[in-house]
Symmetry: C2
Subunit: 276 residues, 2 copies
């Protein structure tokens, strides 16, 4: 996805929100904002928003000296979802279409965001699973492509959501590589979080990845060769929606600019396959 003009106020908001969680010192936060503002002229509208996000979160890490501020919050989130994991497994096992239910739960997992009251909100969303409103739902295409594929590259998003991804992976019946971030950014899962979520038990290997331009060669090679790619969440959509290979995006739309880019409404769920 390109960077829209409306992403710019949001970059500033994100910087404030992220910095405030690390410091009360207005001078430090102001310094971060000054840097973000000065960086505007270096952000072409043709770049993807996560490229700017990477700059912002890197500078916040460097200026505040805090590397993984959400380590504890991420662990708590994973623990919470693990505590309902047997219940979710049962839901899937007892449903008429286990793959469909696992996909829906994995999309609900993308509702998880740092700061919301997690378990409560999650159980509420799970209770409404039969009413879920998908703006785009390429389920038949997904099922068909999955049947043909022998291996899957699965690009994860937030810690906690990872446990939902594990449930989906258990129901794919394929050899899966689960990809997470190399460096901590807010509550995005890193390798340690994936392992805490038990993903090493279902996925063959983990590899760091985010924006293609910044990705290591191992990831790029896997991304190119993968028979089926599943990408979770908005950040990965923003980074990958412009690639010229098949990708299935699974996410909750939480931002009006992305809603416009996808062509759905805010808060819609989507399972969208591109270049099919």
């Amino acid at each position: 996805m390109k960077t829209y003009l409306d992403c710019f106020p949001c970059f500033v908001e994100q910087a404030i929100r992220a910095a405030r969680l690390l410091t009360d010192d207005e001078k430090i936060i102001k310094q971060i904002l000054d840097e973000v503002g000065a960086y505007f002229s270096k952000i072409p509208l043709t770049s993807t928003p996560p490229e700017t996000g990477d700059f912002i979160y890197r500078r916040i890490r460097e200026i505040t000296g805090v590397n993984d501020p959400y380590k504890a919050a991420k662990k708590a989130s994973i623990e919470e979802v693990l505590s309902i994991y047997p219940h979710l497994q049962e839901m899937i096992r007892e449903s008429d279409d286990p793959l469909l239910t696992a996909i829906k739960l994995a999309t609900i997992g993308n509702v998880l965001d740092f700061g919301i009251s997690r378990t409560y909100k999650l159980m509420e969303e799970i209770a409404k699973i039969s009413e879920m409103k998908y703006g785009i739902f390429h389920y038949n295409e997904f099922r068909e492509q999955l049947n043909r594929a022998s291996s899957v590259l699965f690009i994860g998003d937030n810690a906690g959501e990872t446990v939902f991804d594990r449930l989906l992976i258990e129901n794919l019946g394929k050899d899966v590589t689960y990809v997470v971030r190399e460096t901590p950014v807010i509550n995005d899962a890193i390798e340690e979080d994936a392992i805490d979520s038990g993903l090493h038990e279902v996925a063959g290997s983990t590899a760091p990845g985010t924006i293609l331009r910044f990705c290591n060669e191992d990831f790029l090679d896997r991304f190119e060769k993968a028979e089926l790619v599943i990408s979770k969440g908005q950040g990965n959509y923003e980074g990958l929606s412009g690639v010229d290979r098949k990708v299935f995006f699974l996410l909750r739309v939480k931002c009006p600019v992305i809603a416009g880019d996808v062509g759905v409404e805010l808060n819609d769920f989507i399972l969208e396959g591109i270049n099919l």
Copy 2:
């Protein structure tokens, strides 16, 4: 009012909104955003937000070459309110407390903002005049100070709202100087708009004014010597809330940062006297 960290995303939003009304060219709007971003480091948190607003709107005027883009919209707004002016005069005349009713109408006039469906919205607000929720309402203090004063300095805000101000001025029974902006900024009234609103019939003179630092000496002199100062709208609150003289602010709170600064809720009306 100081500049809060949360004002920075809003500066960027304002620049986008104002620029979009003048051009569809993303490159020009991006150039404006780049300049606004680069300007962040020159905005001390001790400055008032309108000082940054002045920079933004000046650069937009310079870059797009459009000086008073809302001239027609402002005229239409004034015409609309003038069309209900006799009705409003009657409302005031027939009320138990004409000054109170005139103050309430003048506050409702501050709801006027470019872009909302004006007459409809206004008539709706006027119909609810008896339920108006003031977060701060220093009416007794205002009435007392007014009785003691022989002259009033009245600082206006938007075109159209000016007609409501005229109604209030008619009910102050004092010698009034009505102050407007020297340069067009969005739909803020300039001298021509004040005259179109008939303010020259009720106010002794008009003088341009906005942020004290940028004001001409004539205004500063009047501001210092005025017995009673009435200031309309958020922009003037932001510019003047830190002064060390008595001022009565009359406005609708439309921004969460200002709500926090004043200590009221979003969408509250306020009649607040400072340094009483």
